[in-house]
Symmetry: C2
Subunit: 399 residues, 2 copies
């Protein structure tokens, strides 16, 4: 029970922000005063928490406030996206203290791993941090993953990444322990860490990236699935009149809801005056940004395209929430920001109309707290999570 | 920790079938010998377990085998289906010791509750059981439910059941504690209890009833969702060329995969020589049974209809397994038996072709252990579950 209780206490102190006294920890955790005293002594010795002032609150001994030492541990988060690699360095309180972005179109995974290792070393060195305090490197990558082997398995939009043993080669290149997680799962962990989610909260995280993905959290824990591949949603049908899909069906998320598909819908609707782009990732990003700007400016065709895409997304989200029965929906990911105005206006009503539990409760739709870095921040949080967060599965049952 | 450890020990003894010695319980649970001795003494005093012989195994004290007393507690399970109500009485080992079926087309929920109460009383009385040993009544009902209020909320196929406070009126009418659960969730609990599932197993349960539903188990626990409405799948699109659905879309599960929809497909394919039925629930059941018989006998059009329905179901299941990332699929429910031959032959290959994790592992497809009574048996297991199964959420953390 020792490690589990230690995590419970650390997590309570972290979440409090301002710190908690030992008495307040008894209330917050349900643990005995003796247990709190023993474990907080150990945490003080290890430098993870500190005594931060005393409060006199009526008669009796003044209460000592225990606060997390933000600079006691660090972690690196890397988001491997088809067109851009984002790196962040987080401290123990979840704050980003350094960030780098590397754009690459290099098709060779081994050269990319080399770049990743150099960037991570540079990030840690420039921050002037003792490498021994870095708890590890978390990598968020597009699924599916072979989590047991630590490999990226044929992700649809990462050519040349066929079964790359990313975890082991990056660990060797950096000397850090490396954790590999799906980008969508990492993003939901990031939302749990930095968002307003509570331990009882359950939410669906809809990740709007180059591809779309989903993650879910229940009782403060992100569901990973049995092979760490929870949330593959590319072939859910959202439009029976949609274009054909490589899977043999029609109108799947992958050919209707991605930024590339939305850009094509905009081209078909005559939103752009110039010739269609060659379809490269960079071209899609630029056209997508222009589409969103036009819609913001009230251009009627652009707005129509985004409204229609909100309808498609509402169908997808209703499929997911009707299956998963969560309390609310969080929209996030690198492509979320420019869409969130239209999506947050259009989706809630359509979603609730399609909700199987509409007569029991209304589903809330929020946008994520972390913006386009959510994958990298989330990956770093996955590493801190392993240090901090209590897990029932860590339990050893003993009287 | 007392109750949690007690549940762990009881569950280990129950799962062993033949019983376990205290030493074996130390190995099976990870608890200390002292804890095992204390808790098993309490369980012996309460009559939940008994000493069932001694084994001499080399030198030292002979080992006493501890076994569950099957007749120490009982529970009643009720499955409320649109056309038939099934009642079972289970003992503590999960065995069905009495069963009744009531067919009714009474539209008045209050008369139905009266019938339910009388049938439950009769079941318990005729079995000659002390009512004090009945842990409660579990009711499996079609979703969605308002679990907080214990009401059935407008289930699509139960006319007249608008917000019936089933839990409280049945508790009042019987004097037993009543637990209300979705039929699909109850069925998955039944599979966990009676099937070969292990504590590590994660599976998707696909419920083939008058409507279709899904449930999922992870690490030996059925996921209920935050409002006990997990697994509403009626409006997932499986056929872009399918018939229109009341939700405004096309080709949803509800209009393609239900027994009624399959019967209509068979009628359109000219499987039956007589005139189309009037569409009543009884008529659908009869035609559905004839369709399955014809397919079994090799009638080519009937077989074609069932093969096509297997394709639709494979699309649905792939949507669910790609989201949920479970280890295997279990097909069950009252309409499963006559379909399982065709479905178990056709679905696995199609499902694995559509699986996002096909390069990581193959998904297994099994049929459920309990047959058409799975809803009622599962509902009774939900009640026993509350007595027996350890839950992390029952934990009070204390050194």
């Amino acid at each position: 029970m020792g490690d589990f209780n230690q995590s419970v206490i650390l997590e309570a102190i972290r979440r409090s922000g301002e710190g908690l006294s030992r008495i307040e920890l008894v209330d917050a955790t349900g643990l005995s005063a003796q247990t709190i005293t023993n474990i907080t002594r150990r945490l003080l010795d290890e430098g993870l928490i500190t005594e931060a002032g005393r409060t006199i609150n009526g008669p009796g001994k003044p209460r000592v406030t225990l606060r997390l030492v933000a600079e006691s541990r660090f972690s690196v988060g890397v988001h491997l996206d088809p067109s851009v690699i984002t790196f962040v360095l987080l401290n123990m309180s979840g704050a980003v203290i350094a960030r780098r972005v590397v754009r690459t179109h290099d098709p060779d995974p081994h050269r990319i791993v080399e770049t990743m290792a150099q960037t991570i070393d540079g990030l840690v060195d420039e921050a002037g941090i003792d490498r021994a305090l870095v708890a590890g490197v978390g990598v968020a990558a597009p699924g599916p993953l072979d989590a047991a082997k630590g490999t990226v398995v044929d992700p649809p939009k990462l050519d040349g990444w066929h079964r790359v043993p990313l975890r082991s080669v990056l660990a060797e290149a950096t000397g850090f322990e490396v954790t590999l997680e799906k980008d969508t799962t990492a993003a939901a962990v990031g939302e749990l860490w930095t968002g307003s989610a509570t331990a009882e909260d359950s939410f669906l995280f809809v990740y709007l990236g180059t591809g779309l993905g989903a993650a879910a959290a229940r009782e403060g824990v992100v569901v990973t699935g049995s092979t760490h591949n929870f949330g593959e949603i590319g072939h859910i049908m959202v439009d029976p009149d949609g274009p054909p899909c490589a899977c043999g069906s029609r109108g799947c998320v992958e050919v209707v809801c991605t930024p590339q598909a939305i850009v094509e819908q905009a081209e078909a609707a005559g939103v752009f005056r110039d010739e269609p782009d060659d379809g490269g990732a960079r071209g899609v990003e630029e056209r997508f940004a222009r589409l969103c700007e036009l819609a913001s400016a009230g251009e009627i065709r652009a707005l129509g395209v985004l409204r229609r895409s909100a309808e498609h997304l509402a169908v997808l989200i209703s499929v997911l929430t009707n299956i998963l029965d969560v309390d609310r929906v969080v929209l996030g990911g690198p492509f979320c920001a420019p869409l969130s105005e239209v999506y947050l206006r259009e989706i809630p009503e359509q979603l609730n109309r399609r909700s199987a539990t509409r007569s029991v409760r209304a589903l809330r739709v929020d946008s994520a707290v972390v913006g386009e870095d959510v994958g990298a921040v989330g990956a770093a949080c996955v590493v801190l999570d392993a240090v901090l967060t209590p897990r029932a599965s860590d339990l050893y049952l003993e009287d």
